[in-house]
Symmetry: C2
Subunit: 593 residues, 2 copies
């Protein structure tokens, strides 16, 4: 047998008994946290002032469901009626304590659980740490357990007790590896019963669910279920998703979006400068973000690409694949006339689902597969598609046809996130340009490279913004649970102000819901926030894109910094949405802490 | 027609006349340098002390060619004999000036050209700026022209005069877009004649070629040619390549390697933490670096992956594709026994060429193509391959077969850099694991994702190390040209010391050469530095890899920092090669400037 594995045992023994490698700053024989990770352990996020002294929860404005209010309230009768002595469907705020200290309720120790649900997002550890620090400060002697491997851990009662010592090693660190995550749902009767059993066994006062729209839709169901069963366990959600599509009037941002967009923008900026330097390639960059195009839009504002496709616009205009291909080809042809045969195109991961013809084709394919048609029998499949879909299918590349037929999720549906849309577009744009060349309307060169960024941005060290925002969210979740509230999402607001002036509170999960047609039935779910085509972020882009298409005003944001003037800047999207375009800055004010 | 382009003119006009967008820090209506790029403009690299005061060039040790000394000297009779009043084949150093100031030769204005050759590498602009600053300080009134689009610009006499004003906008910035680059060679008689014509027309005292081993092989030829023709134009090379394979006794590092490895390591570290958090995927990451595996090795030392394939080791053991697949599968199987079905595998871009069977197949395919065999006729191709190659070819995936046949460079050869080795390995490892599962020797799950990083690291903002190193290299090149030397590569040494103590000089390009068999002939070329299997970098990796394979000691280096303790650290490779494993730190000492 070839290779170095023959002497494994020896090597391991020798290494572990030897002194630490000198290049390893951790001094732990190759395990090492990197120098920067070690530096980040010492970062202290600014805590909003309102959480620094004695505080209480006060009720604010009432809220209605985003849609289908009556129906949804009917489905969640306890959450939509007064419960636990609290009015339903109200925003709440953490406010400085009005009552004298001696009148404060006793700060008894609490028993809390926390779970990470769904895809990774930078800052998750800081939410847990914020929650922990809140309990330590205001409810000393409390116990915090972290459920392992996501919601499955809640249902199977698999957890570990989170101690200050262990958590100190995860401060401001990326990843979800402290307790892991998972994509299981707690939604059906038996799942809810399993979760209930765990909460009873662990005698939990509350459970904090760190997740996206689907996970928090389930948090709402769990909150209702626990109320119905008379459990004391309160359920609080925390808005997590790099996609940035979990936001509304009260939730101004989901955590992780800031950092992930900055990581992607760093890469895109580098590629843009490379395109401009080498002058020979178009780079087609697909970006994570399946339902909404916030990530692509933020990256476009950060980097000024020649074209960024935005799913919501594609859907609004009912553009099909040909329309999209024509737009890209138009841009390439326009630049060729200026002697430029290079550039960058940004493509949201979900694009295929938003082009009406491709979306229709996928629906038809899903139905055929459900009927048991052989995925390898393309002739049979083509025969059973509608003529339009059959035509489209036959014009796709063989690779994409295979991906559509063979990459299927556990439910048997086409796995849209595995479709290499960037390669499909390169191929089709190339064909379109060949046609134009033959017709004499295009005389450029078209060579293109494909990229996909997603996993790169989910577990990076959280930016100062995400580190600070997550810590505040965790503390907010602690305050909400401690106050006996349930069915709320933790919120941190006033983000245009420095972090010490941020507001903290909660908003009813119920108020974020509407009715969505799923599998032929109206289902109450948290409404995803799509890109608003009249919003400041999109119109900022549209006001510039015709120029960015032909000029090379590439902007390279560079790597995320943790020190220096640019370290405390939040996203351009946030600046446009909450601060009239002025940069949102943390503006650390450690001196007043 | 769909889309937003209908009203282009309007939008452009409105935008350009309006006030700058508030989110745009550059205040130039969307053109903007990013905040961080603006910050970096103000960074002042430490200048080695020896360049701060009056200095002169002194001759050091003599050098011989790496191989074929006699033959190569015969081919370059002028460079290998005394020329321009200087001894041939000698290292030179910049040293504090021994003679009193009044005896100094007059610092007359010089006319210099500079050209970027080959692929982008972070720091290129700083070389040009270092050169410019040297001329401004020591030869005021000098003219520096930058040739446009690489060596083609030299041959076509396309250039722009580089002024202080313009260069100030490129200080410490990534990319080669100031003057562009290109891959043309100046090697044949007519190319040399064209370059000669330009140098005469521009009356150049010297030309500085910023390039890799091939480009500098040509610099040496150009230096010899200019001597032969009696031109005054001296030729000086600067070692540039992110691959890190242009180094020797005198050249301790090529610029760009530091930054590019850090960018790739940032991404790999993020992916490793993601793998460890989600616990469901293997990530196969291919990295740029075709001939040598320095990049993969440095990234492995930075991030501690479960496996990093190193081409030089593959070649040394004459491993074939099956051996490599078996190694990866062994690691996956070993981890499965520990309940771990996730991890990260690093793959150097050039791997396919280093596996003896694949390399043989590629050679045979290149020959068949040269004979005019139809790339689409796979049956014919298989019939004409040797039995071993035919067998291997038939076992490849259809996608890889197409890449081998259809992706060809201008010379008709297989375009190795376009082969998605990571996908090939995923497929074959998956098949191997299926066999083991059937045999009952493996019970894990194997789901894998593919990544390729290359373009992302070539044009990023240079690290503090590269910014400082490049500035010193540019200044060194200026000192060499000014001294009337030709055929040297600029060198900066003593890199284990703080940057103010770095040494500066040059080494004969001729001494870096050996004879290499190319197209059936011995050709004198600069010898690429491959990974030394007995060197400190590789043995550091081998001493740990058995542990990293099974433990999850992932190390996430995080984004490059420009401020703070980790900002001034160079690569682990450099630490091991020049500083016995102790970190190389710039340790800025601005106070003594």
């Amino acid at each position: 047998m070839v290779g170095w594995r023959d002497s494994n045992g020896d090597l391991i023994a020798r290494q572990l008994s030897s002194k630490p490698r000198p290049y390893d700053a951790g001094g732990d024989g190759g395990k090492g946290l990197s120098h920067l990770c070690l530096e980040r352990l010492a970062y202290v996020p600014v805590l909003p002032e309102v959480l620094r002294g004695k505080h209480e929860i006060v009720e604010g404005d009432s809220r209605e469901c985003v849609g289908g209010h009556e129906v949804i309230c009917g489905l969640f009768p306890r959450l939509s009626s007064p419960h636990g002595g609290h009015a339903p469907l109200r925003m709440v705020h953490v406010a400085p304590c009005a009552a004298p200290a001696e009148d404060q309720p006793q700060q008894r120790p609490l028993r809390l659980g926390v779970v990470l649900s769904g895809g990774q997002a930078p800052g998750g550890h800081n939410v847990i740490i914020g929650l922990h620090d809140y309990l330590q400060r205001w409810h000393p002697g409390s116990t915090l357990v972290g459920f392992l491997g996501g919601p499955a851990g809640v249902m199977n009662n698999r957890y570990k007790v989170l101690t200050a010592d262990e958590l100190d090693g995860y401060r401001n660190q990326g990843g979800f590896h402290l307790i892991g995550s998972g994509r299981d749902a707690i939604a059906k009767a038996e799942q809810l019963a399993a979760a209930e059993k765990t909460c009873l066994e662990l005698d939990l006062d509350g459970i904090v669910v760190i997740g996206g729209d689907d996970s928090n839709t389930n948090s709402n169901t769990m909150a209702e279920h626990f109320l119905k069963q008379g459990l004391k366990t309160n359920v609080i959600g925390v808005p997590k998703t790099i996609d940035g599509d979990l936001k509304n009037t009260d939730v101004k941002a989901s955590f992780g979006f800031d950092t992930a967009c900055k990581v992607f923008s760093e890469m895109i900026g580098n590629i843009m400068i490379d395109a401009m330097s080498a002058k020979k390639y178009y780079h087609f960059v697909r970006l994570m973000g399946r339902a909404a195009s916030h990530v692509t839009l933020e990256c476009a504002l950060q980097t000024h690409p020649q074209l960024a496709l935005i799913c919501e616009e594609v859907a609004a205009h009912r553009w099909g694949l040909k329309d999209v291909v024509r737009q890209v080809a138009d841009m390439v042809a326009q630049r060729a006339e200026l002697g430029k045969n290079f550039g960058v195109v940004l493509i949201p991961e979900g694009l295929v689902e938003f082009m009406h013809d491709v979306s229709e084709l996928i629906t038809e394919l899903n139905e055929l597969m459900a009927q048991g048609v052989n995925a390898h029998d393309q002739a049979e499949i083509i025969a059973r598609l509608t003529p339009e879909s059959a035509d489209l299918f036959q014009n796709l590349t063989p690779g994409i046809r295979s991906e559509l037929l063979e990459e299927r999720d556990p439910h048997g549906n086409v796995q849209v996130s595995h479709i290499q849309t960037e390669k499909l577009l390169i191929k089709l744009v190339g064909q379109e340009l060949m046609r134009r060349k033959a017709a004499g309307t295009y005389r450029g060169k078209f060579a293109a490279l494909a990229h996909f960024f997603g996993y790169e941005g989910r577990c990076s060290l959280p930016s100062n913004f995400d580190a600070t925002y997550c810590n505040a969210l965790g503390q907010a979740a602690g305050a909400l649970v401690a106050s006996g509230r349930t069915g709320l999402m933790a919120t941190v607001g006033n983000l245009a102000a420095p972090a010490n002036k941020w507001t903290v509170g909660g908003t009813p999960l119920l108020s974020m819901m509407h009715l969505e047609r799923r599998s032929g039935r109206d289902k109450p779910v948290i409404k995803k926030a799509l890109v608003d085509l009249h919003g400041a972020a999109f119109t900022s882009y549209t006001s510039m894109r015709a120029i960015w298409a032909i000029q090379d005003w590439c902007r390279s944001p560079g790597p995320i910094q943790f020190k220096g003037p640019s370290a405390d800047l939040a996203t351009i999207t946030l600046a446009l949405e909450v601060n009239e375009g002025q940069p949102c800055l943390l503006q650390h004010l450690h001196d007043d802490e």
